[in-house]
Amino acid sequence: MNGTGRGRPLAVTNRADERPPTDGPVVHASELTKVYGEQRAVDGLDLDITRGSIVGLVGPSGSGKTTTVRMMTGAQRPTSGKVTVFGQPPAEFGPRERARLGYMPQLNALYPNLSIAENLKFVASIYGVALRHRRSRLRDALSFVDLTEHRRKLLRDSSGGMQRRVALAATLLHEPDLLFLDEPTAGIDPVLRRKFWERFAELKRSGRTLCVTTQYVGEAAYCDVVAVLAEGQLVAADTPDGLRRTAFGGELVDVVVTDPVDPGALQRLRRREPVLDVEQLEVDAHTLRLLVTAAEAGMTAARQWADSEGLAVEAVRQHVPSFDDVFVAVLERWRTDG
């Protein structure tokens, strides 16, 4: 599935220049709420998805990601609040509007006794793709997910990763403008997950808008905007970098010195701009982690501080925390702040 593989690197129609940018978000959710009995699956969610972006809905299992997607696709109606897609409530979509959506459900939603190609033909048919387009679309979609050689294989004989690729190809056959992909990378290996995200980036470059849910927090890095959900609520929504800053209150810089630093020197470092805080890592007393408002300025300030203190510095570098750490920090902060 890599871009230099046997198939075409991107076989779906590029729509970046075909459709004029629309004013306002493609998806707009306001106070979106879904209640099942006593349980609030989604609770007052506000979210906008802009055209041509990849928005990741990240959160633990049961956080409301799938319910949010279902409301955005029109499969479910909100209990309260509202959601509009292309300016209309999706639950009231007619066939034409529905044909602009691509949806990859959490389950593969394909038939084990049909071959890969037969499954794709079936999905193309239920989207009303005309016979004259079907063959080329099928060829392009199979090529896009590197399954051309396996098209005659029965789905039940295909691996889990292959089945997810078929499901992705099925989502693309009718050339939708907006794709909702519900945990597309669930249960597949890291290499294939990366390839999936490469494909999503290609789709984005072709002008499509993607809303992707994932439990793999690390995949947030591939998104333009990450919306963190927990217990049905939107905890944070920002760019990946913005989310990091939000999580820790700034950016992080690590300074590795050769000799121990006395407390007075540390105090002076804390008073320098743009340093907000300094932490001496317990595992390595020679490493100082600085919380700064901006990483570049922080690194400059750290070098100047070391010179002024006469300290030998082994390294000064920006520390990019993993999204696991970011996610944990965001949730902790959200829970602390109430």
């Binding site: 529905r98 939603a109 038939y111 006794n113 048919s125």
Partner: protein
């Protein structure tokens, strides 16, 4: 591309998908076609037309006449009863019955002859241990028929004896004719002494004739149980006795000299009586004893041609039942599995209308069901010899109607069920209801209202009536059946559509 074309594309996608999915499962296809046929074949080949033999012991006393009757009973019941022995040990026979070694014990009373002579009917008791009400009904009927057969056999013997006596009387009639001729001659010759002598002879012959005929009367009385010789006597025998009474009166009148004016006319009347008597005796003697004992015999005859045996009667109904069950199960499982696979969720988001799915799947299963029905019908006709007396077009239309109703029922079940095990359970309930209420085993008129209405909610009820009618009678039956099937399709189809729209709509 127009919406109409898209609708065709979307509907047709289900036709292809459903058929390919089924064909991809060879075991399923085998089960689908071969399974029902093997069941039908086993059913047709295994079903016996005659009632199964009943293991029986006959108990009699020591009365040789009763033993003789029991032997005759054994002969007459050979087809129905498998008579193990004739014994006088009633206790042992009843013990064997309780132990399950026997099905029936036929017990003749010890004092049967005495009972009959005392003017009462002797009761032949048939002991059994059946719990099946239909079997009990059959045994009761059998006991009644057996008693009638015994009575007929006894009566037949008596009639034979009566006819033998009537033969003797015929000889005496010839002697009487001779006496009459001699009397006529004496009177013609004007010889009063000879005339008186011949008259005396005639009187004696007529007396003997009356006595002989009295014996036949007694015999016939035994047959009919009618002591006064009235309406119960067979016609020929009654006519003979009437003639004899007239003849005796005439001869007595002649001997008393009451007939003096026209003795020739009196003699002619006597001759006429003798002729009538001869004719009557000839008729009585010439009738077979069976006809005298049982002048009427019951016979049932169908007003249309042909006759179906038991397996031919049940086979079309079994076919309808199997095809309905197959279609209901497959279509309900198909929809429930789509729910479990997640494709229903995809359908909710896709530009797919409920009607398109309904039409697509219906067409697929109509094709499949039609093919299986055609194959099984051919196998029934060729393999089991089931007749096909009606129109193939009517049978084809009936198949389409029944399949559409079964498909719609399958949709309703699928849309009510949440899991495949629930769908299978509901399909089994429909099968059970169909076996009991559709006329497969018991006729529809055996059920009381309002439960008899339940039958009309089942496609098999209409299918069985239409298939049996078309194949066995040559005509589909009452138009109300066709109208009822159309209404059922509309009702179930409407319910399916509403439920499907709800299922595919936003939740």
């Amino acid at each position: 591309m127009g919406d109409a074309i898209r609708t065709v594309i979307r509907s047709s996608s289900f036709v292809r998908k459903e058929l390919v999915e089924i064909v991809r499962q060879p075991r399923l296809v085998l089960t689908l076609v071969l399974g029902p046929f093997l069941i039908l074949l086993a059913f047709g080949a295994g079903l016996r037309d005659e009632d199964p033999p009943v293991r029986t012991v006959i108990v009699t006393g020591s009365d040789p006449q009763v033993v003789e009757v029991a032997e005759r009973y054994r002969e007459t019941q050979r087809r129905r009863l498998d008579i193990d022995e004739i014994t006088s040990d009633r206790q042992r026979a009843l013990e064997r019955l309780r132990a399950g070694e026997l099905d029936v014990v036929v017990s003749f009373p010890d004092d049967a002859t005495e009972t009959i002579r005392s003017g009462e009917q002797a009761v032949v008791t048939l002991f059994h241990n059946f719990v099946d009400p239909i079997e009990i009904k059959a045994i009761e009927l059998s006991a009644e028929q057996a008693a009638n057969r015994i009575n007929e056999e006894v009566s037949r013997g008596l009639v034979v004896r009566g006819q033998r006596v009537a033969g003797d009387v015929t000889d005496r009639l010839a002697s009487t004719r001779r006496s009459l001729t001699a009397l006529e001659a004496a009177l013609g010759a004007g010889d009063p002494e000879a005339a008186e002598l011949e008259l005396t002879r005639l009187q004696r012959d007529v007396g003997a004739l009356a006595l002989g005929l009295g014996a036949t009367d007694a015999v016939v009385e035994n047959i009919t149980g009618d002591g006064d010789g009235g309406d119960g006597r067979p016609g020929a025998q009654a006519a003979v006795l009437g003639t004899v009474a007239g003849l005796t009166a005439r001869v007595d009148a002649l001997s008393r000299g009451e007939v003096t004016a026209a003795p020739a006319a009196a003699l002619a009347a006597i001759e006429s009586d003798l002729n009538a008597l001869a004719a009557g005796l000839e008729e009585f003697g010439g009738l077979p004893p069976e006809v005298i004992v049982s002048p009427f015999q019951g016979e049932a005859r169908r007003i249309t041609e042909g006759r179906a045996n038991l397996s031919a009667f049940y086979a079309p109904a079994a076919l309808v039942l199997l095809v309905q069950h197959m279609i209901v199960t497959f279509i309900s499982l198909s929809l429930v599995r789509e729910e479990e696979l997640g494709t229903t969720e995809l359908f909710r988001v896709a530009p797919l209308r409920g009607g398109e799915l309904l039409v697509g799947k219906s067409l697929a299963y109509l094709l499949l069901g039609g093919l299986v029905t055609a194959l099984l019908t051919a196998l029934l006709i060729i393999g089991l010899g089931v007749p096909m007396r009606g129109s193939w077009v009517v049978l084809g239309l009936s198949t389409v109607g029944v399949l559409l109703a079964a498909i719609a029922l399958g949709f309703v079940i699928a849309l009510v069920a949440r899991t495949d095990s629930q769908a299978v359970q509901y399909a089994m309930l429909v099968l059970l209801a169909s076996i009991f209420f559709s006329g497969f085993i018991l006729g529809l008129d055996r059920f009381v209202a309002p439960l008899d209405r339940l039958a009309y909610l089942l496609p098999t009820t209409y299918g069985i009536a239409l298939f049996r009618g078309t194949m066995l009678r040559g005509e589909p039956g009452a138009p109300v059946i066709v109208a009822g099937l159309i209404v059922l399709i509309a009702l179930l189809g409407g319910a399916s559509w509403v439920l499907l729209r709800r299922r595919l709509g936003s939740q």
